[in-house]
């Protein structure tokens, strides 16, 4: 990532909106924004599915679900955050169970790019299918887009729900319904 170029660009933006990039509060802003983009958009060149390769040789073939994974990403249309939760379910192939935190790391990895919510959802589902070769995967993301709340149509509180189903969750309606019911059980 070219931090110097981001710094230059941020200074240009401050000038263009009529601000004085030399005033005290803004002096470090270009540097901060550059470091921040490295943190929140630094996932472009990484392959987040690498986390999933940590596998346990466990004979479990029942559904595993990780719910309410906090999610922060950046809308590729406006470079404003969208945020919410991701829910992931998969039915493993015997001997191919991954670490729970690795699922959350995969979500985070794909989120650290300029994204569309639909693409993010599909990328997570596809990477789980590719690496774990499970019987099926279900990914649901519920998110609020700042580009719809703080500007434009200004609809605070509206949430976008996207899902991606693969394998047995796609073929078998009963399995899918069961997973969706589990999404709705009470909090701990």
């Amino acid at each position: 990532m070219d931090l110097k170029k981001i710094e230059q660009a941020v200074t240009m933006i401050l000038e263009a909106i009529g601000e004085d990039p030399q005033r005290e509060g803004l002096l470090d802003t270009p540097k901060r924004v550059a470091r921040m983009y490295q943190e929140i958009l630094g996932g472009i060149e990484e392959d987040p599915s690498r986390h999933l390769h940590v596998m346990f040789n466990e004979e479990h073939e029942e559904m595993v679900m990780v719910k309410d994974i906090p999610l922060y990403s950046m809308c590729e249309h406006h470079l404003l955050p969208f945020y919410g939760v991701a829910h992931i379910a998969y039915i493993p192939q015997a001997g191919r169970i991954t670490g729970l935190s690795k699922i959350a790391r995969t979500v985070e990895g794909f989120a650290k790019r300029p994204q569309l919510q639909e693409r993010l959802t599909a990328q997570i589902a596809n990477s789980l299918m590719d690496v774990l070769e499970p019987q099926g995967v279900l990914v649901v993301i519920e998110a609020e887009h700042m580009c719809m709340t703080m500007r434009g149509v200004k609809k605070p509180g509206s949430r976008t729900v996207t899902s991606a189903v693969r394998g047995i969750f796609q073929k078998n309606k009963a399995t899918r319904s069961e997973a969706i019911a589990l999404l709705n059980t009470g909090k701990l």
Copy 2:
């Protein structure tokens, strides 16, 4: 506002983070971000207190409070949104009552700049004092900063509360306590 310069800067940022600004999803992003900054940071040269000059010659000298005004602004350190609610109370001078929506417009006007929450709070209070010449003003802002939730310390749910008191709210503890109690009454 120099929209062309913002567009150039956004293209530079996309390149610097390793993206291809020519891919379909990003083609219009520089234009969109420029329009968006005009919308959400376009308040630098305006004087938001101009809204308050709409006054009604009403003999009311009791506290007027507008609570839970939705607020969206941009953190001047990270150019990420912070958002929440503003609560405004003032005790008018007889004959100097302003329109309720004008109070909300004033909040919005000061929010449309690279801001610090403390400065935003004080600017709103000062502009009410200057224009309405009331007996006193109380401004409270509760906000969540995306720079503390999606990056850095990552503390989603943490909220920052700032306040500014002027005139009788500063001098008279009882009046201030009464206002703060009214902030906590139930929702409609």
